[in-house]
Amino acid sequence: MKPADLTPVSRDALRAPSGALLVVLSFIVALLFNSLPWSGWALALRPDLVLLALLFWSLHAPGRVGQALAFALGLAMDVSDSMLLGQHALGYVAATFGAQVLRVRVLAFGAVEQTLHVLGLATVATATAAMAAGLAGGGFPGWLPLLAPFTTAACWAPLSAVLLSPRLRRRRAAIP
């Protein structure tokens, strides 16, 4: 017997939005973006789209995207950035955990407050990775890596707009 749908009306806004295809596609694009040949200042300021996509989908599709994927993508980024294996993974897992805990609260907010939350989570991810590298003998990496969370957070609003738009379109099409 199927359980009754106890979903309150407000949950509708939080419902997993879209097909698996969009999720996979967004991660591929994010990985491509992160793998571009960045160097120098551009590298220091590179917005981490993989992290952003992780946060977005763990907020909007918590059934599909969670800490396991965060761990796997973190390992992939560690290899492609030739860093210590597990460094990005720890940061991504920590940020995804934060997103899962804060999920309902973040989704109730508008764009500005959401951006601030993302800034916090991205800072957690970066700081965790930098600290892990430091403990592994890399020394203090300086303050420069803490610039990237700002650019990452700045990309949140455009990314949300883009990723949420197909869903809006489908909904409008479904109503009549």
Binding site: I28, L31, P37, A68, V79, A89, L90
Partner: protein, 305 residues
């Protein structure tokens, strides 16, 4: 609790998951850092990432090809002129080297000289995306016969060493990376030393040389071949500053790399299998069979006119 509707059933709590994956990450880091256990995993993941990385590099490659097409005549002529001058310089150096080598062979009875190492030309694909490590990514991997430990050189000397190998690409650590060591010997008086990467600004250090040692600015250090990784005689570093402080037993010696560590797009990986220094008979026996095979297959020999 087992009667809860499926809607509420979500597996372990986020906190439990976080504990699990967090510990897994930490374990991976420890395994990678302390024990170097995850090299196979790294190779596998990098193979899986290869399509994405190739795609990400495609715009740059296209831009490069198009740029090459439209190089103007003046710059080509200039480059030609420059190359001709270099060729002359190397021709002179090669003749001198041949004389020296003949003398060396006569004196030491050595079977081969360092420049006769078999090697393969690799392109520097990217300079690595970790701003805190001096590494470059090359476009040759296991399938081209590369192995960890192989020396990477350019026409002027040693650049670094292959440290990670994937299926179709590999990672070389430059000699300027912090803690990267190369055993060397001074050309002028045979003083043996170790060159250590300083980690910053393409500088090298020569630690543990007594303050009384005969080292001057401009002295050239070449590989000594003692470690069995780098063949002897490759230029490594030129001394820039010698600081003899009274309150230290050792001189503080800084040097610059002899090779263009950060200047090149093409490098040569010496593919002679790196082995620990072996006793003389074994060493000559190992070199012998390598000789006939390398003559036709050798890509280039920039030192020979």
């Amino acid at each position: 609790m087992g009667e809860a509707p499926a809607f509420f059933h979500r597996g372990p709590s986020p906190l439990a998951r976080f504990a699990f994956f967090g510990l897994l990450s930490v374990a991976a880091m420890i395994a990678d850092h302390r024990f170097g256990l995850l090299d196979t995993a790294r190779v596998g993941i990098s193979a899986a990432m290869l399509p994405i990385q190739t795609a990400a590099l495609a715009p740059a490659t296209v831009a490069e090809v198009v740029g090459d097409r439209f190089t103007d005549q003046a710059s080509l002529l200039r480059e030609n002129e420059e190359l001709r001058e270099r060729l002359l310089a190397y021709a002179a150096a090669a003749q001198e080297a041949q004389l020296l080598r003949a003398e060396n062979e006569r004196l030491l009875g050595l079977a081969a000289a360092p420049v006769d190492q078999p090697g393969t030309i690799a392109r520097i694909v990217s300079t690595g995306r970790n701003p805190f490590a001096r590494k470059v990514l090359l476009d040759k991997g296991v399938t081209h016969g590369l192995q960890p430990g192989m020396p990477v050189v350019d026409v002027d000397g040693v650049i670094g060493q292959v440290t990670g190998v994937g299926a179709l690409g590999s990672e070389a650590t430059l000699i300027t990376e912090k803690g990267q060591l190369v055993p060397v010997m001074m050309v002028r008086n045979g003083l043996r030393a170790v060159v250590e990467g300083a980690g910053a600004a393409g500088r090298l250090n020569l630690p543990h040389i007594p303050a009384s040692a005969d080292v001057r600015e401009g002295d050239l250090f070449v590989t000594s071949g003692i470690d069995g990784v780098y063949p002897p005689g490759l230029a490594v570093a030129r001394v820039t500053v010698v600081d003899r402080n009274v309150d230290s037993m050792f001189a503080r010696i800084s040097a610059l790399p002899a090779s263009g560590v950060s200047n090149h797009r093409y490098v040569r990986v010496l593919t002679a299998t790196p082995t620990p220094a072996a006793p003389e008979p074994a060493a000559s026996a190992r070199r012998e069979p390598a000789r006939p095979g390398r003559a036709p297959g050798r890509p280039t020999a920039p030192r020979k006119p």
